[in-house]
Amino acid sequence: MAQALIDLIKRQFPSAVLETHSQHGDDTLVLNALAWKSVAEFLFSSPDAAMNMLVDLTVVDYADREPRFEVVAHLLSLSLGHRLRLKARVGNPEGEGAAIASLTEIWASANWAEREAFDMFGVTFIGHPDLRRILMYPEFEGHPLRRDYPADKIQPLIPYLEIPGIEKVAPFGRDEGMSFGRQVHARWAEDPDDPRAN
């Protein structure tokens, strides 16, 4: 079934399909990024494919490859019961120029999926009606799921107090309370003349 579908797409878009493979029963089409939307449109509207649900859309970051990002979409046809995975590769090793057409006009679920992909990886979806961050806050810089973003690099909205000599002092005075970790060690807190005792 799925093989017939792959052949159909190969016939319909001879230059768009870069490679196909099937692993663990998942049929995969690797597409030219420029043909992303037209193939998706065909899969949606053709009665032989009838892919009426975009199950998932995500990105995988292969930091050492060129093109760097792989946009992966999983499609499902509820009426015919088959699935297909679409892939397209975009972006240079610096992570710039990663752009691909948006699928929001075809499937409504692409809206949030693409916003998440943009938020997490910085892949731009051309034609998306509302492309802004969804999981991270607007002040966040960078894209956390990229391989080169350090996992523990925080960008706090409520910063620590800046007191020379001491790290990570919580932003409240000692008259309000004290964090547990500071309780034992912070002898300076007892001394009213010490500048650190705010």
Partner: protein
């Protein structure tokens, strides 16, 4: 009753009548500790245990902390239940600031206490990096019994006027009780 009992004096006035004197602070603290109006700041997994604690089997209303108030201005105990992310942090701080004194904060679960295993770009390593915290309840999520222990610990602290942060300890810590290390203890059990 704790502190209240110690500062109270009953004076017999004859013919079965009597009156008692106590300190005003003790009396107020006694009233406060049995009428905690709580603000449940529920975000994550611990919320499921929070439901259990409030449901009939564990029922924390027994401790006078029945009424949930979803307005910070009417509440005096802030339950921080679940992971606080960097995005959520300003909201938590704002809610804490809106609460009127006296106010207490209870960190429910490991994430609220110290961040748990979310040592990453998105999470705050414990609410005490943002707001002062009175009682920490460990566990991922804590068992309801542990939460009730935490609540009683807070009541004791309210009564004694102690604002130092403290952690709910295991009820029986054999290593502490008997002056034995855990390895020694295992040997002792075997022998």
């Amino acid at each position: 009753m704790g502190e209240l009992k110690r500062s109270t004096q009953v004076i017999e006035a004859g013919e079965g009548a009597a009156f008692a004197t106590t300190k005003l602070e003790s009396m107020l603290a006694w009233a406060q500790k049995y009428s905690l109006f709580m603000y449940p700041f529920v975000t994550a997994c611990c919320g499921m245990e929070f439901m259990s604690v409030s449901s009939p089997r564990y029922d924390f209303s027994r401790f006078g902390s029945e009424a949930p108030r979803f307005s910070p201005r009417q509440s005096d105990l802030l339950w921080v239940v679940g992971t606080i992310t960097q995005r959520q942090a300003p909201i938590l701080k704002r809610i804490y600031e809106q609460m009127a004194e006296p106010k207490w904060v209870l960190a429910f679960g490991t994430c609220a206490s110290c961040g748990g295993f979310y040592d990453n770009y998105a999470c705050v390593a414990g609410v005490d990096k943002i707001i002062p915290c009175d009682v920490y309840v460990p566990g991922c999520p804590p068992r309801p019994e542990g939460v009730l222990d935490g609540l009683m610990l807070l009541q004791d602290k309210i009564q004694s006027g102690d604002r130092r942060p403290s952690i709910v300890k295991p009820r029986h810590d054999p290593a502490v009780d008997q002056g034995l290390g855990l390895i020694d203890l295992k040997r002792a059990v075997k022998a």
